[in-house]
Each structure stands twice: as C-alpha cells, then as structure tokens.
C-alpha cells in the first residue's frame, strides 16, 4: 500500500519494537472499575446416586457389582457412582449390539435417518440440562458447553442423518455395507461431542455400537442413553459401558467387535494398534498433538492474539489439536508478547457454571498433577513461566492459571510433549522456511495454524505443513462436514464429512 510521506511522522507505519515490554512503558489497568456480578447458571439437573450400564435398551447393574465415583472437578464433590465395566459387561453389550445388527442394518436407510433426526432434536430440546451436566462433570465453562459442545453434538446427528440414505452417492459405483459391531472409546475433554462424533457416522452407515465413555466424564453419555430410550431407538443399537482403561481393553479385545474407533492419548493408541494386529479389526485412532500455531509478521496481529488464546486456552487446553507450540516471527515477537499479556489479564478463570467464566477447572486431579509436573520441568530446563495473575482461584477444585513459557528451546520437554493443559510454549523464527521446518519437527501431526494477511503465503505454508488440519487466520473451527484426523503419531483415519463415513463401511 502507498505510504504517506511528507512532514507527518508517518501515521500509517508501525514499529513493533515500540511496544517492547519495559519498565515505565504505558500499561493498561484491568482492575475492577466496573466488574461483572456473579452470573451462575441456575438450572438444576437431576443426577442419580448410581448408574448402571446401558445395554439392550435398558440400564443394567454391572455384573461384578463394582462402581466408581465421578467427581465435579470444580468442587471435588462426588456427583454419582458409576458402574465399573468388566469383561462380562462388555460381552453382554457386544452380544446386544450383535443381536440388534441384522434388523438395524436392513432397516430402510431413511428410517435410520428418522431415528437420528429424533436424537438430534432431543439433544437440542434438552440442551441446557446437558450443558450443565457436562460442565459439572468435566469442569469446562458453561459458555463452551452451552455454545459449542451441545449444539455441535446435535449437529453431528443432523448431518449424519442426512447421509444415511445417500451412501450410494457418497461412494458412486460401489456397494456400501455396514462393518458390523463398532467398539468406540472416547476421551474426557469433549464427552458428549465425542460420543456424537463416534455414534452418528456408525449409526448412519447401519452399524451398531458399544461406546465406552471416559472414566472421569460419563454423565452426559448416560444422559444420551436416556435420550436414545426416549426416542425408541431399537434396543441394542447403541450400548454404553462405563469404566476405566481395563473396560476399554476388554472392548478392544472382544472378538465380536469388527471396528475400533479410539480418541485419546498416543500411548494408549499404540497399545490398541498393537493388540489388534492380525485380528482383522478395522481401527481409526485420533490421538495426541503438539500443534504449531505460526504468526507471521504480516498477520493481523490483534486477531492473531485471539487465535493464540482460542488455540491454547480453549477448554483449559484439554484439546488434542490445541495450538500448544507458538511460533512468532522475530520482528513482531515483542509486540505479540505484550498483547498476549494484556489479553491474558481479561481471561476470567473460575467457577465453570458462571456464564462469564472463560477458563474453567482442570478435568481431574491426575491431569492437574501432570500439568504441574510439566510446569516444573519447563522451569527446571530453563524456560521462563508467565502466568495470568487474575482474581484468586477457588479454594477447592483443580485449577491451573492460563500461562505461557518464553525462552523455550526446541529440545525442551515442554516444546515436545503434549501437556494437555493451558500451557503454551512460545518460540520465534526468522523466515518462513524455518517456521515450516520447526513446525514439522514433531512426532505429531494433528493440526496447525497459519496467520498472515498474504494469501499466497497461506497456500505456500499450509501445503507444506504435515498436519491433518491447517487453520488459516483462525483456529479450532469444526464442522460435521469437515474431516478431522492426524498424521504420524497423531493417528490415522478421518472423522467427519464424507471421509469419516469410509471407516464405517465395507465398500465392494
């Protein structure tokens, strides 16, 4: 663009160095001149004292009679006792799914779609209840469960309902048949949404399923079971077995399961892949990540700051595709850090049920411990920790202030391991080539972010990033129509969109 010349000190030009943090520099004050009153979501939801498994269309007690507590991570109160699934429970569930398969898979496709539309509508009707439940069980801000998790879960059922009777057009000239009984194991970061990601394509393609929710967040999946019963989904089409790692292992090992879909850690994903080798089971794995978020000097910086925040602090950083490695072009590093500091100060951390909370509770005591260990390791290896120093955190519950590290070397543990918390590693680069090389220098390859106002650079960089999703001038955008999945140790297979159907069909 043209530059204004003449006698004015040039109004159109900026020099990022003028924003360098230094003592005596002008500072903004984010105090309490006008603060927001507490705005807790007050809807009360009923939670049973104890839950069984959902098998064959009914809630049944666990065969071995064992239960475990599920805890509200913001208060440490036990919300309910959950059935601990054993191999016998898994066996019953797989048998129910197998029994339901012939009728369900031969149902006219548009009839299957009708059931799925009903599920979607019922999720919408009970959205508020589901959002509160999700927030109480998992610690995520009500703003996110209300505006993202629950609406998108409904959206996945709507979207895949639309595919049910159009599979012959999705794969023209091929004969598409269901795979059979699907074993689906989901993580604790997006409990209901991940259940929808898994169940919706499976059902649309005529499969039946056994779903195992995460140990720490089973409540919304069990509520979904109530919804499935309410809408008269034929018994056995969806079975839900709760439990921990061993329950999942039993499901993976069961000979009646034809396909495994797993979302979770790379460590467990590798074990699953090894254990089913030679069994003929299909598998899709959506695993960990250490995704790079790359800010070029010609980016719209104020918007890029929002992308950093969205990338790493969304859902307390419990996001497999979190933009946890930030690469900033050296010429704008100082400015980006000043602005990141400013932005961190307006993030509201605390009671997840408060509608104004931006960052909620860490999902579990275990996860908090793991994050704290990484904070210690980061400091010990020589990086500098910067924390948001907002309002005091609640006394009970599991909390971690949003934070970032500077002085990070590529070899540092915090630059290589997935932390799965609100912890960002900030690094700088000088040229696009260097940015691409360093971004790809990771065992993972789930997602990446590119920030530049220059269109040609977007295409040049995006096509060379080894990641399943590359977001340009945005981050963490999802749509049921858009396939999601990883490269390298982030897993294989795609979920969502036309690509996601493939894993749930035998094509001949």
């Amino acid at each position: 663009m043209g530059e204004a010349g003449g006698h004015h000190s040039n109004p159109l030009m900026i020099q990022s160095k003028t924003l360098a943090p230094s003592t005596g520099a002008p500072a903004l004050d984010f105090g309490s001149a006008w603060d927001y009153a507490a705005a807790p979501e007050r809807v009360q939801v009923k939670i049973a004292a104890r839950y069984g498994h959902f098998i064959g269309g009914k809630f049944v007690p666990p065969a071995e009679g064992k239960h475990f507590p599920t805890v509200n991570p913001a208060t440490e109160e036990t919300l309910s006792e959950i059935a601990l699934g054993s191999a016998a429970d898994v066996d019953r569930a797989v048998a129910a799914a197998k029994a339901a398969l012939p009728r369900w898979s031969r149902l006219p496709a548009r009839e299957r779609a009708k059931y799925m539309f009903r599920i979607a509508r019922r999720i919408q009707e009970r959205a508020r209840e589901l959002a509160v439940l999700e927030t109480r069980d998992g610690g995520k801000p009500i703003k996110e469960s209300r505006d993202i998790d629950i609406p998108e879960a409904a959206q996945h059922f709507f979207y895949h309902a639309g595919w049910a009777d159009k599979l012959q057009y999705a794969f023209p000239g091929r004969n598409a048949r269901p795979v059979g009984v699907c074993g689906q194991i989901i993580p604790w970061n997006f409990p209901l949404l991940m259940a929808a990601w898994k169940l919706a394509p499976a059902l649309a393609c005529g499969n039946t399923a056994v779903l195992k929710p995460a140990e720490t967040t089973p409540l919304t999946a069990l509520r979904l079971a109530e919804i499935l019963a309410e809408i008269d989904l034929p018994p056995g089409v969806v079975n839900i077995v709760t439990g921990a790692g061993e329950t999942g292992a039993a499901l993976v090992a069961h000979p009646g399961v034809r396909k495994i879909a797993f979302t979770g850690s790379t460590e467990v994903g590798k074990k699953i892949a090894a254990s089913i080798a030679g069994s003929g089971k299909r598998v899709t794995l959506e695993l960990g990540g250490k995704s790079p978020n790359i800010i070029f000097e010609d980016a719209s910086l104020d918007q890029a700051i929002e992308g950093i925040i969205q990338g790493i602090y969304y859902n307390q950083g419990h996001v497999c595709c979190a933009g946890s490695r930030l690469f900033v072009q050296e010429s704008v590093l100082d400015e980006v850090l000043v602005k990141l500091d400013i932005r961190l100060r307006s993030l509201r951390v605390g009671d997840p049920l408060d509608k104004n909370t931006d960052v909620g509770a860490i999902n579990s005591a275990d996860q908090l411990q793991k994050i704290r260990r990484y904070l210690d390791v980061g400091r010990a290896e020589g990086a500098d920790l910067h924390e948001s120093n907002g309002s005091p955190l609640p006394e009970r519950g599991y909390w971690c202030r949003p934070c970032y590290f500077t002085g990070v070397q590529p070899a540092h543990t915090i630059a290589r391991d997935e932390i799965f918390g609100p912890v960002l590693a900030v690094m700088s680069f000088r040229t696009p080539e260097e940015a691409i090389t360093r971004a790809n220098n990771t065992p993972y390859g789930l997602a990446a972010g590119v920030w530049t106002d220059k269109g040609s650079k977007i295409f040049e960089v995006a096509k060379r990033l080894k990641a399943g999703v590359v977001w340009c001038n945005t981050y963490n955008q999802f749509d049921p129509a858009s396939p999601f999945g990883g490269f390298k140790e982030s897993g294989f297979g795609r979920e969502g969109g036309l690509h996601g159907l493939r894993a749930y069909l035998e094509l001949s």
Binding site: P11, I14, W34, D453
Partner: protein, 293 residues
C-alpha cells in the same frame, strides 16, 4: 514497517464474543449509569428549533426528573448555529456542548469554509468539535491531505477538544477503518468517532473494536490516551452494555469514563432511563413514561 491490517472475520467474531457476557444485578445498574454518563445526546436535523434544543438540554442535565441519583449526560451534540443557545441552557451544569462542524455530514466544502465554521463553533463556546474527514480524499489515497486538514481543524479549535468522524460506513473495509484511525490519532484527534449518523451502516461493534485497538496501540507506543465514540445505531441499553464490556476488556479501567468513551445517540437515552427505572424501582416503565426527543 507496514500498515496495520485487520482480519474482518476474526474481528467480528471477537466483537460478538463481548455480547455473550452476562451483566446482571449491581454490575447492570452500574453499567447503565456509566452508559448514561457517556451519552452525547444528539440532535442534528434541519428541522431543529430552539424549543427542541431546550428540551434536549434539560434532558441531558436530568435524564429523568423523578430519579434523583442518575448521572447527567456527557454532552449535547448540535449544529454550530445552536451552540450559543445550548451553552446558555447548560450554564451551571457540567454537561458539555459538542458541535459538529466542517460541513457536516459530507465535508464537501472548501477548507477555508470548514475552518471558519470550526472557529465559529469554538468561539460560540463549544467545548468539543466533531469534524468529518474528507472521505473522497482518503479513499483516493491522499492521506497527506486528510492529515493536513485534521491538523488545520485542530488548530482552529481553540481550547475545544477535537473528535474526528471517520464515517466508517463509507470506508467499508476494516483495513481502511484502521488506517483512518491511525491517521486521525497521529494528526492530533482527541477522540475518534465512527459515524455521522447520516450514513448506514453507522456504528457497529466490529468497527468500534478496530478503533479501540488503534487507540490501544497508540497508547502502548506513546502513553497518550485517545477517546472513542461510536455514534448512530446504538438504540438499546443492552447494546450499550455490550460496548462497555468491549471497552473494559480491550482498553481496561482507564477508558471507562466519559472523558475517553462516548455514545453518540438520542433514542438510547430513553432505553437507558427505562432500564434504570426498572433496576431502581423494580417496575417497568411504558414508552410514554419517558420524554420523546
């Protein structure tokens, strides 16, 4: 070194995020009062009369006769011909008189005429001058002329503070809004203002955010605080609270004052008073319970 760019989609998404804050109870009451105190109660019509202006001045001083502890508005905003009368009506109050000038709203007059008009308004006692930039020159890329003219108007303001109207509805892109903001700030604007109210779209959250960010960058670089005034299109108390959330979370506490943030509006006053009455008395008012203006 380069010109600032703004990504419209991301800026609009950020602006929309402020509307999802929940403002209740004591923070709602405080926010409504703050918004009222930031109001430039405006009448800019060819059919304006002294009687209309007298009513407006009374309302600016006492937004509701029966509610004693409401703040007064920040200013009344009028054409230059009404400055003397407004000054007289507002004598003894702390309500300021703002006058549009520089061939408002188009700015299409010779510079000498625009400067003379500015001087006339200032001489008549205007505390604040709301000028318009030459959008034609700006869109043609003649930034030098636009900056020179702002400086010239500023030099003719006397002690009055200068608000520079960008008329963002005619600039169209956020890149140009940002560019015009930087230019006006650098040329000496005390305030940057979105719109004349005569062009649609007038103020939007997205445009105002871009301007707040320009003000923030200037402050971080120089320490000088420039004010922001969205004008036109802000009609409800709820909208006003959304804007205040945006100011609070973008620029912080220092800008939550009429010295640095204003609303250019007329209908907004009535909704603020109605909502305040509800908060203070627990009863909703009917539209006929507040004065037309």
């Amino acid at each position: 070194m380069r010109a600032r760019t703004v990504d419209r989609i991301a800026a609009d998404a950020r602006a929309a995020s402020f509307t999802r804050r929940s403002i209740k109870k004591e923070s709602k009451l405080a926010g409504l009062k703050l918004a009222l105190s930031m109001l430039d109660l405006t009448t800019l019509e060819g059919k304006d009369t002294p009687e209309k202006l007298r009513a407006l001045c009374r309302k600016a001083q006492r937004p509701a006769e029966d509610l004693a502890d409401l703040p007064h508005c920040a200013a009344v905003c009028v054409y230059p011909t009404f400055v003397a009368l407004a000054k007289e009506e507002l004598q003894g109050s702390r309500v300021k008189v703002a006058s549009v000038a520089t061939a408002f709203p188009s700015g299409q007059s010779p510079l000498a005429v625009r400067l003379a008009e500015t001087r006339a308004a200032a001489d008549a006692g205007a505390d604040e001058i709301d000028m318009v930039i030459q959008r034609g020159a700006f869109l043609a890329g003649d930034y030098e002329t636009v900056a020179d003219e702002i400086e010239a108007v500023k030099a003719n303001c006397g002690s009055a503070r200068l608000k520079v109207i960008l008329e963002t509805g005619e600039l169209e892109t956020y890149d140009l809004v940002r560019r015009a903001s930087d230019l006006a700030i650098e040329a000496g604007a005390d305030f940057i203002k979105t719109s004349t109210g005569k062009v649609a779209p007038a103020a939007t959250m997205g445009v105002t955010l871009v301007m707040l960010e320009a003000v923030r960058d200037h402050f971080l670089a120089t320490g000088r605080k420039v004010g922001v005034k969205p004008a036109g299109g802000i009609r409800t108390a709820k909208q006003a609270l959304h804007y205040l959330v945006m100011v609070k979370e973008t620029l912080g506490d220092a800008w939550l004052t009429p010295d640095l943030f204003r609303f250019g509006a007329s209908a907004l006053a009535n909704d603020l008073v109605m909502q305040l009455r509800k908060e203070l008395t627990g009863r909703y008012a009917a539209s006929y319970d507040v004065t037309e203006s």
